[in-house]
Every structure is written in C-alpha cells, then in structure tokens.
Subunit: 301 residues, 6 copies
Amino acid sequence: MILKVKEPIESEWPHLRKGQVVFTYFHFAASEPLTRALIKSGAIAIAYETVQLASGELPLLTPMSEVAGRMAVQEGAKYLEKVFGGSGILLGGVPGVLPAEVLIIGGGVVGANAAKMAAGLGAHVTLLDISLDRLRYLSDVLPANVDLVYSNRHNILDQLRKADLVIGAVLLPGAKAPNLVKRVDLKLMKPGSVIVDVAVDQGGCIETIKPTTHENPTYIVDGIIHYAVANMPGGLPRTSTLALTNATFPYAKRLGKLGWKRACKDDSSLFLGLNVIEGKVVYPGVAEAFGLPLVDPKTLL
Amino acid sequence: MILKVKEPIESEWPHLRKGQVVFTYFHFAASEPLTRALIKSGAIAIAYETVQLASGELPLLTPMSEVAGRMAVQEGAKYLEKVFGGSGILLGGVPGVLPAEVLIIGGGVVGANAAKMAAGLGAHVTLLDISLDRLRYLSDVLPANVDLVYSNRHNILDQLRKADLVIGAVLLPGAKAPNLVKRVDLKLMKPGSVIVDVAVDQGGCIETIKPTTHENPTYIVDGIIHYAVANMPGGLPRTSTLALTNATFPYAKRLGKLGWKRACKDDSSLFLGLNVIEGKVVYPGVAEAFGLPLVDPKTLL
Amino acid sequence: MILKVKEPIESEWPHLRKGQVVFTYFHFAASEPLTRALIKSGAIAIAYETVQLASGELPLLTPMSEVAGRMAVQEGAKYLEKVFGGSGILLGGVPGVLPAEVLIIGGGVVGANAAKMAAGLGAHVTLLDISLDRLRYLSDVLPANVDLVYSNRHNILDQLRKADLVIGAVLLPGAKAPNLVKRVDLKLMKPGSVIVDVAVDQGGCIETIKPTTHENPTYIVDGIIHYAVANMPGGLPRTSTLALTNATFPYAKRLGKLGWKRACKDDSSLFLGLNVIEGKVVYPGVAEAFGLPLVDPKTLL
Amino acid sequence: MILKVKEPIESEWPHLRKGQVVFTYFHFAASEPLTRALIKSGAIAIAYETVQLASGELPLLTPMSEVAGRMAVQEGAKYLEKVFGGSGILLGGVPGVLPAEVLIIGGGVVGANAAKMAAGLGAHVTLLDISLDRLRYLSDVLPANVDLVYSNRHNILDQLRKADLVIGAVLLPGAKAPNLVKRVDLKLMKPGSVIVDVAVDQGGCIETIKPTTHENPTYIVDGIIHYAVANMPGGLPRTSTLALTNATFPYAKRLGKLGWKRACKDDSSLFLGLNVIEGKVVYPGVAEAFGLPLVDPKTLL
Amino acid sequence: MILKVKEPIESEWPHLRKGQVVFTYFHFAASEPLTRALIKSGAIAIAYETVQLASGELPLLTPMSEVAGRMAVQEGAKYLEKVFGGSGILLGGVPGVLPAEVLIIGGGVVGANAAKMAAGLGAHVTLLDISLDRLRYLSDVLPANVDLVYSNRHNILDQLRKADLVIGAVLLPGAKAPNLVKRVDLKLMKPGSVIVDVAVDQGGCIETIKPTTHENPTYIVDGIIHYAVANMPGGLPRTSTLALTNATFPYAKRLGKLGWKRACKDDSSLFLGLNVIEGKVVYPGVAEAFGLPLVDPKTLL
Amino acid sequence: MILKVKEPIESEWPHLRKGQVVFTYFHFAASEPLTRALIKSGAIAIAYETVQLASGELPLLTPMSEVAGRMAVQEGAKYLEKVFGGSGILLGGVPGVLPAEVLIIGGGVVGANAAKMAAGLGAHVTLLDISLDRLRYLSDVLPANVDLVYSNRHNILDQLRKADLVIGAVLLPGAKAPNLVKRVDLKLMKPGSVIVDVAVDQGGCIETIKPTTHENPTYIVDGIIHYAVANMPGGLPRTSTLALTNATFPYAKRLGKLGWKRACKDDSSLFLGLNVIEGKVVYPGVAEAFGLPLVDPKTLL
C-alpha cells in the first residue's frame, strides 16, 4: 500500500493511482473536478474532515480550531488600529485607562482558546455559551478577567453594545453555523469595532460575514471591520502543520501498519473518513453534492 | 516608669497618675473631658493616631486601614441582600450570570485591600486613584479582574452608573476626606446599590455619609444603602488587636526600655505622638480644639 | 398549551386550569394543600426539583447550589463579627496576623463554590470529601490555600478543633444529609466560631441545625453561631433568578415547542419532573407522602 | 492666560499669540520651522518630552512607553504570519506544539509591558536587563513563563539564536539607545523571525533598524522582518490619548490655576519642560540644534 | 470473617489461617514462597495491585503514583548537586540566571504531579504525551512554565539534548513500560544531568535503568546520574500510608461489612483483586508465573 | 593593572604580585596565613564580602542568598525522608492528605526565595518577620499558601509546634544572627522534623546549629534533623557562579577600565571593599582580628 498524507494539489491529480491511499483534507463537496479526478484514479480517499469520534468531535479539525481561536485575538488586536479603520483601542489598556471589551460567542475549542489569549492580553472578556456545564468548567480554568454568560438573544445584544472586538466561535459539527449576529445588530456596535468570525468556513455566525484571504483579510460594513479569512491557520503554517500532524499521525500509522481495510474496520472514527473507494463514492455528502451513486463502504472492506 | 498600653476607659481616668506614660488611641479633640482628665493627672499621653513617619504615613493607623479595607467588601456583599433593601446581586455571580461591579475610590491601603477581597470573590472591580505610579504598582500585583483607572470627576460618574457596590477609600493623612461623590450623584446609581465609606471617621468621601454603629450599621438615602460604621475594625477585635499590637509593640518596647524622654528624642515618629506631658498640652490640634495653651514638647524632654 | 413557569402562590391555586402545564418548584411533599389543589385543578405539574439527569444530578437545583455555596462564605464572614457573638476574626487576616481557618464538609457544587470564595478572601481553607477523584480534580483547579483532605470521622474532628468557620455542604440527591457533625462535637470547637449549613433544606449535616430565615438568620448553641437560612439564594434574587432561568429555559422552550407529552417522552430528565398529571399523582414520593394512589406516567403520555 | 494642550499643527503656527502658553509635544530639535514660528509668536512653549522628574524619569513619555511595549507584542505576533514573510509560528503554540520564543532586550517600562503581553499569549519569554534589582522585582510580579536573564553580549547572542520574536526595549533617558544587536548578528537568527524595535525614536537598539510608518510598517533585512514604526502609540489613539492625558492633566491643571511662572517655579519637573519663552530659547538642546542664543529660564520667571 | 489490611511479613505467613481475608499488596508473581504460603494457609488473598476499574485504572496504585511523581522532582533537584556528580544547576535558577530544563516523559498521574512540582520550583518544564486530549486538559490546569508537547521519537531526542533533569513517567497498566530513551541517547545529554525513572517497577522507560534502594539510590552511566529507587513512596511513609489508606478504606469497609463473597460479587473492581481463595489460585498472572492450576473465581463465590 | 577575579587558592599566594588587584571573596578574618600572604605580596585586595551599598545591603552576597534560600527547601524536602531519620512527610501532600508545614524565620532575600519554593511544592508555609512593611510587600507577591506572621517569641514557639520543616533565614549584615530557636525549644517540635539553617555562616539563628559539609550535611539533636552546610551555594556551582558573576561584573568592569584608585574613589560601595592595599590593612575588621595596624584607605587613593 502506498500512503500519501498531503493535500492533493491539482497538478498531482492525474498521477493518483489505483489502490493508492490518500489521507488528507479533501473538502470534495467544494470541488467537483477534484471529486471526479479521485473517482477516476481508483485511489482510496480518506478525508480528515469527516473522521469523527463517537462524541461527534472531529478530531482532525480540533487542532485547526485551537490555532484559529488563538489567532483570532491577535487579528482583532491588530485591526483595531486606526490605520485599518479601527477605533484605536489597545486590548489590555494601560494602568489608568480601561481595557477593551472582547465578546466571544461560543465556548468550544475556538472560544476557549480565544478567551485565554484575550485575557492574557489584559482585555475584559465575556464568553457566551448555551451549555452551563461548559461554562462551569471554563469558570474553573479560565483567568479572572473572563466573564462566563449564558448565551441568548438578549445577552448577545447587551454585549454587542459594549464590545470593541467580537469573535464568532460557533461551530456545529457538520452544520452551518447559526447567524447569531444579524446585520441590523451592527448598528448597536461602536464604530471602529472589529468582528473576527472563525466560523466563516461554515457560513459564519455573523450575518454580514463573507470569506476573505490572508492577502486582503478585512472589509468594512456599517463602520465595523470584518475579518473573515477562510483558512486562518494557513497563515501560521509552522504551528498549524505540527499541530495537525500530531492529530493525524496515529491514524496514518495505523493505516500504514494494518492497511486501509483493516484499519477502517477496527476504528469507527477512521471508517467515517472514507469518501471515495476505488472509483465509488461512499460518503453521503459527496454523493448528494454531485448526484453520484452512493455505495455502502461496508460492502467494500 | 509605668507604661500603659490600652485605651483609657472613663472609669480609669481618675486613677491616672503623675509621670505615668499612657500609649494608646486618645482622639483628644473628640472628648474635652478626657483631655482635661489627662491634663489633670500629670500623666504623659502619647497618642497612636499622631505617631507619624517622615513619609506622612501614620504607622499605627495602617493596620486598622488594612482590616477596614478587607471588611468593607464583606459588609458590601452582605447588605446587597434583599432583606436589607439591597438589589440582591451576588458579588461573584455564578457561571452563566454576570458578576457585580465594585467601584473602589482610592488606591491606598484601604483600597488595595478592598480590591483584593472583591476580586477574590469574583466581582468585576474598578479602582480609581490619582497617582499613576500607584496604579502601575497595583497593576503588577492585583488580580486580572481589577481595572485600574485614573480618578477624575468624569470617570467617577461613569463608574457610579454601573456600580453595585461603591467603597469609599480616600484617606488623606490629617485632613478631611474630599466629597468625591455628591448627593446628586446618587441619582445616577442603580437602586439597591450599596455604599461603604471607610473614610467616615474623617468625614467621609461620600457627601451623604454619616457615622453609624455595628448595632445599626446602615441607612438608606435615595434608594442607596449606606454602610458607615465609624470604627469598623472594632467589629473584628481578634484580628484587629493582633494587627495593632504588631505595629505598636516596637514603639512600646522602646518606651519601656529607654524611658519616654529618650525614646521620643531618638525617634521623630514617636515624638509626634506626644499630646500631653505632665499637665501641658504639646500637640497643636488638641490645644486648638479647646483653646488651651500649647507648649513646645522639645522644652520638656 | 399554556405554559406557566413560576412558583404557584396560594392565591393562584384556585385559578389553575385543566390541561395547563405548570413548570416550577413545587416541593409537594411539604404541602398537602398545594398537592390537593393541583390534583383538583387538572393541571400538569412538572417539578424543577425532580428533573434529574442520568448521572443523578438535579440540573435545576445546581444553580441554587452555586449561589448558596458562594453566599455561605459571606454569611460566615459576617457572623464572625463580635456584635453577633462571633469570635471577631477576619477571614483573610492581614499581613502579620494569621487568617481564619475555614472547614468545608463536602466537595460538590456547594463546597467547591464555597472554597473558591473563602480562598479568594485569603482564608486557610480545608475541604473534606470522600471521593478521591473529586479531590484530585479540585486540586487541579482550586487556589493554593485550599487543602483537600479525605473525609472521615477522625479528620472531621481534627479540623473542627481549629475551624473558625464550618460550612456544611453535603447534599445527597434525594436523601437526607448525614449528620457528620454531632451535637457533642461542638464542644471541640472554639467559642464564637460559626457554622453555616447549606444542607439545611435536607435536614442538614450538622446535628444542631434547624432552619432559620433571612430576617432571623442565626442562633447560638454551645457558644457556636448557627446560620441556617432555609432558602439562601432567595436572599440574592437578582443573581439567583438569572441563574435558575439559564437552567430551566431550554426545558421550558422544549415544553412550549413540542407540548408536554412529546417533550417528556423525548427527554428522560424532564420525564422525571412529572409529578401530577390531570388529577393523577405520578411521582412516588408525593403519593407516599399523602397516601395517594400512584399512576405510572408512561400510561398517560 | 490661555492654555493650549494640543500638538501644534502647521496651519496653527501663524495664529500662536504672544503670552499664550502651549503645553504639548514639540520635538523642536526635529523641526527648525516650528522652532522659529514659536520664537516669532512670543508664546510660551512647555514641551512634554523634556518634563523630567528628579529620578530622571520622563513622566509624560511613560504612558507612551506602556502603550508601545504592549503593542510591540501584537505587532510581532502579526508579522510572524507567512503572508508577511514570517516563519508562520503562533506565539503561544497549541497543546502538543511548542510555543514561540520571545526575546525582550530591556526591562524598563517598555520591556515589562511587552513581557506581560507575550507571556499572556503563552509564549516562552526571555527578558534581558543589566539591573539585578530590576530583574528581582520583575521575578516577583511577572508570570512563570518569563525568564529573567542578565544582559551581556554572550547572553544576547545565545538568545538571538533561538528567538522567533525580538523586542528592542532599551531606552536611555536623553541618550541614543545602544546598538545591542549588530547587523552581523542577524545571521544567527532563524529566517522569518521578527524584530520590533520600540527604541527606534531614539535611533534604535538594533543596528539595522530605521523608522517606518503605520502604513508601511515593515521591511526585511537578511530574512528578518523589521517592524519599526516611529510613533507606535499613534496607531491606537483612543488608549494613547487617555493615557497621556492622565499624565499631563495634573500639570495642565496647575498651569491653569497658578499661571506658568508660579507653576514652573514650584515644580522643578515642569520647569525643565520650558523650551521657548516669549521669543527666547531656554532649553539647551534646542539652542544647540539651531545655533540660537540660550537664555537661562530662571531670569524670565 | 477476620480482615487483615497490612502487608504480610514473612514471619506472619505461618500464622495465616483458613478463611481469613487478607487485603494488601502481595505482588505474588515476585515471590513463590509467599504464593505457596498463602495457598497452604487457606486464606483469601485480595491484592491491592490487581484491583482495577472498568477504565483500566488501578485505583490502589494511583496514590502511590501521586507520591512518586511529586518525589521525583525533589530527588532530581537533590542529585543535580555537584557532590553527587550532578551538573550543579538549581532547578529554578535565580533572577539573572536561566532555570534548569526538566523533561517529563508521560502525562499521566506521575507526570502531571511531577510537572506541578517542577513548575512550582521555577524550572522550565516540557511534558511529553501521546494523548492530545490529555495535553489539552493539562494545558488548562498546569502553570505557564510547562510546555505540553506531543511525544514522538523526534521530540524526545530534541528535548533530551537540552534537559538537565529527565523524569520517566510512562506507566502502562499491566504492561512493561516501553524503552523510550535508549542507551545511545544518553550521549546526546549534557554530562551531569539526572534521570529519575518512576517506571522502574515495571522495567522502566529508560533502557539503562535498573532498580536501586533508598540507601543507595543512584548510579552513573555515561556521565548521567540515574535515580531508580524501586519503591519511592516507601521513603515518605507518613504521606504514603495516609494516601493509600484513603484509597483502600472504602473497599476494606465493604469487605468488613458484606463479607468477601458479597463484596466481590457486587464490585467488579474488587473482584479483580482476588488472587488466591482458600488454597486455589484464581488470578491468571499468578498461575502462569509458577505453573499452578487456575480456578475461575466465579465458581468460588 | 592586572585584575584577577577569582578566589585565591593557597598555591597561588606566593605568586601574587605587587600592584596586582585581586577582586574576590577573601574572608581574611578567618585565615591569618592568607592575610599575611596578601600583605606580603603588595597586591590590592578588594573583598566581595565587604562591598556594601548605602542601604546596608551587601550586593555581592545577595545572589548567594538567593541560591541558598531556594536550595534550603529542596534540602529540607530530601532530609524529611525516612532513610535520613525524617518523619517521612511529603512537602506538598497529595489530594486527600494534608501538606507539610514549613516555617521560615526571616523574610529577607533568603526567606522570600525559600517561601516561593516551598509554596511551589504545595506546602503550607508560614513566614515570620519583624518588618510589617516587608510582610505587606510579600503579601502582594507571594502565593496564597504563604501566611505572613509578625515574628515574636510567642509566634515562633507556636509555629515550631506544628512545623515539619524549619528554615532559619535571619541574616543581619555584619552581625551574628540572633538565636531565635533555643535548644530547649526543640522539645516542642515533632520528632523527625528538619531544620535547615541558612544563617550558619554567621553563627546561625538556631542555638543547636553548627556548620556541616556537602559530604556530611546533617546531624540529629533531640530527634530533629539539622542541615547546616556552611557554603550551600557551593553545591550548585553552575547556577551560583553565573549568579555571582552577574553581580560582580559591573564592578570588575569599572576596576578594569578606571583603575582601582579611580573606581574606588567614584563608588563608595566598592571603596568599602578595600581590605589590603600594597601591604597595608585598611579594613577595621581585619586589623582587629590579627592586631595589625589600620591605615585609612583614603590616604592611599
């Protein structure tokens, strides 16, 4: 078996070979050519983004969420500068001057990592989540300058009014993030405030968000700076690559050692990563996206 | 020499003897009978409250400020309860519910101790002071949930609007505390909020404050609960007595060992504690208060 | 369906209507008139206090335990004052004077919240629990001035000897709290020490405890001040109400959206909250308390 | 007296009037036209940048150092991104991946503030200074992820080898910062590392540094990104202006109340701020810069 | 039933009686005479070391791991002294001098406890583990001077190069610890560095490790000091005995109350502790070790 | 000028040359041969141990106090082990078992460093000092598990009763440490407790202390283990040498640059370091020790 653990770049597609196992991010639904190339090649495609634990966690996305959550704060801090249209406030203030207010919507991996960074810079942080159990755990481990508040429409609006930086950190596994901040809500915000929406890959939890790039990361709507780079961790590849490899390595090792059939039989998480097997689409989302026939992967193991 | 280190209670006044040294709190200006009894006795009265370091610090009041600053927070927490007319907010909130806002006016010994306690209970604390150097030091040593803000009229009003608990902690050595919160300012505050004025012994830094007792500690003005017990540390005598003794003991030891004349000659702080010497008033404030002749203590050493 | 989410006050009982769903605290076993009024009305009574997760946790009591645990420390601090008969010690001491010793019996929600507050005030805290796993977790997240000790009779007596404040925090879901501190043990304690028993609603874990009110919160037995307000969170309604609503809201939303039958079928926690359905008692404890026939709620869904 | 507390913009120069007091940043030595306009106007120019305490501290520059020190870390974090040529490392790493190494040269106001921010983001920080007393104080108040190391050539080179981000924080009051990092030393550094030199206004402590602007903040030398915006706090005007006003206000108040003559007589710090008085240059540096006659300000008070 | 909860010393073996229940550490596989004595006696032997939870945890070994993990750091600190051949570095350094590097291999109970201690002494700590979830939790609760790194051969070698103290903390329940540090790897280490292998009882995770005693705790290989006391907690019996009793007491109580048959039937963890029952070996490892017949314990309950 | 910065070993004495400057530890009073060799050589001896700041601090001893204070805790932890006669308690305890009690007598450099380490290991620490100002500062910067108590005979005895480890940290510049723990006081202590007296070089603050060596560091009196190595930092030379060099380097640099005459004229601290100048004894203590004539160094500059 030949195992490839790398994102397939377009020039490589023609070279994929029958029986070759490719274990990487595919995001097939976003690219019909890639899907068709894979089908044609006869290779076995196991996608990082659909490997899933029984708990619903996507373990090969978690490291990217950690990086993105931490980056979100440094992006927010930067784009608050006046030269980018920001209100010119320093997150942590200085002795004698109040710090900035940072609002984090969502207390999962992204939100908790963002909260640590914002608190570390001395900002006054409010983190909203709908799980009281999660808020209780976070209150045990986060610094004292993070307030943990139950998330509902009333509290979101209340906090938007005073926020200098809003971080959208709502990611639902396999679903579009809900629009918790509406376009009209921007009017409540102070001009020059910044929104960083880490959920942009899933449609975003801010209505006015649309994907941007590392080259042109921000745009302004109603006086509010929007940062919405679609692949944030790509901006810090040294940390991101190591973080991802730490997560994928145990799976890759098992694939290499046991072969893909045995490895996917033994591990139900990895099994869910199977997307295309020797020309047959075996993942529902991919089949649906392009109207292709779906084959039950169990019949191919 | 006979040294007495204890507050003179009224029944003891007739028994004070000529040449006896009494080292304790006197607050002569507040009691003409005590002053006259001391003068008549021929004793030497060295008053804790006027012992003063070159820096202006009153070292035998400092321990009481520490106790009072810490107590102020537990009093405030208590009188926020509904049964006392308070707004019913818990200082630290709970996971999911915002904590209370505590405003501390003054960052000296009282304020810093109050800030530690309020932060320790999980409140969101704002401490105001006019010394940037003091705010810088406090920002080095206080927890992350204390904001350190320059004190001016604008910032005071701004903070009063959101405060659930206000602690007046402005003490100027030897001067009446300035009225930083005016009666009209109470209108800005949320009903059921609490004011604890630790400066009440010096007239208070809140215009509507007037001294109360441990038995009847609070009263309400314009919907705001006022706590203004005149001798707060007296409520916790076990801690206060030990704290005070730690501070007075080195002076008492020197008085006992060297005699009062030598001890007061050698130590300019102790010298300032001399109030009455064998029938003669030697401290300006006492002489002024009752129109008595003032003698220069240097002539009596 | 009409959903009411509010404690039924006596004057409302006659107005409860057939088919109306009432979702609130009932504590039926404590009031036969209320029970009979509910039966007669034909309403559906879903009681906060019997909603229960598979883990045994009572999720609609947890927020009240958080509030009560945090309050317990401020009550203890207050009633240590001399004017209430207390020993006059300040929980955190001051530099130069030892802090007070706080003993917390039980490391669940109440105990952990109490420990955070007492530690935040600078006291020396000892928390006893019989679960080593719980103590290990708490040692990861509590401050350094909390000692975590295995609970047994020997250790309880050992700690009682030095405690200035004892917080009873033992709550067993659905059972009377065990009497871990006997009447005779009070003799070991220092006079003027304070006991706050948060378990008083369940009979208390201190033998000498009996319920008091916010108006008359304390009484003294053998020189020890007892604070045992039956409904502590009621003293801080602003925080308590928000905390409770955060917990009940998701259930109420589902009741409103799905109707009580569907909602209780889908969610086994909510199902356990059913106490009375259209005239029939469906909760064993209520039927037993008043010798009423018990109906299996499954037959009524 | 008319007091103006604002930086004089060019269009205002002709309107400055005789006897008017202007209290602001001037930096006369950098602009002969401004100097001549002031002389011609007959106004009194008191410059923020030369007000100086007996300790040598420049109290009206300190707030700017605080802002710049804190900003330096967020700039460094940002320009480590790949899109700017950086090495792509996240300052704090993520669980499983090492954090970045941040080297701070200088432990004064700038360095200490930078260290707090970098540590708050989870980086591994090394701060170098030549004062052991300063390092001892910083070891008391900075977080555990800051190493405090004596500054000498050996240690600088040692740390440069592993640093991902270097912050130049050496400011000597009234003197050019020494070039502690030579051009040749850059060869030791890892490609894609970032240098932020906060001392650039004084010539910088990095040999390869030269001033940049907020619009074009960085350039690359030998593979190392250099950030050297000359007026960093200008990028965050909201915080900077408040911070500066807190520091200048007490001086401005005294100028307004006492008049400039009395105020400068009474306060030797303010006296040193006098640069031009009614047509006469009274500050040595200004006179030297343009070969103008110097008048002793004492003769004009 | 007579219950004995004490390690059986050799002189007691002849006195063990039929039907007596002995609940203690046995380590039968290490001593054939003890095994045969037990069989002959007819007693029931329940071994601490094989009581096992469903999660795989050995709850009666956990307290010993806690003690050993914490001790490992103080042993390492001590044997770095020059008199023992160590490199003479102080773990925490002092202000101006870098701290030592401590490498901890394994993030379970031993590793986490060691990390807390080493961080508490001010060292720079790197902890390696292969579970990202464990690293994430540890990053929430450990101090800022602990780096959490994914464990693989590359990272181990990288860290060995700079480590002053290496703590082997890899314990796999019921299996020999893997040799993660090879003999050849010692060449990478700095002379005078110290290795403490807490896994020595299971063969150690360092190839060059072999058990030592409290009397002669260390030996040197290739310039590296090895500390490998086989029963570390035995050196601190006061803490260890209390810690162990806390864990065993609930089991002993149930054995005493219910009798061994009922207690082992009710509790599957305790059931796994059964090693010898009235002359019959019922634990596979013991039977295998000496070629004795194995009886299914279920047939004897 | 030839500058030597190294402790003069006996074999070098004959080689010391006239006019050579030797800057190092001498401790002349302890060695008449060394003194006479220096006199004979005609060299200039500047002794680290008598360089003294205006504040009384001995800046070239401070780094050694830092190392010794930190080491004191690891020595104490080690010798509490049973194999050395200790009580077998682990300083930090484990979850479920109380930590040890550490008593530190003296809150200067030694005591503060010891307190940080003991607190870092999780012990319960009590630090005694007679300066309230010092206790107040330490309460700002030390962890929560350090109690700061005023030092007097009553408190010392009280704490000795419960201490598992006592650290003597009383150093008075230029004077014998007072015997704060008398021989008879040892009876109050628990058997197997440990005393580490860092003041042993100055006679010790424990009556029963006498100097030991790194090879034989401890002895037992009345069941109490005494650790009293005379030159503790010598056990960790790597850290100690760097720490010392950081402190001496600026002086050595000035000596080298300016020559000893100018350097000693300019710097009154260094001036006090002059002990022998070209055959003449210029330091009172040395002259007194051996009945040698004393010359005023000012006459020789």
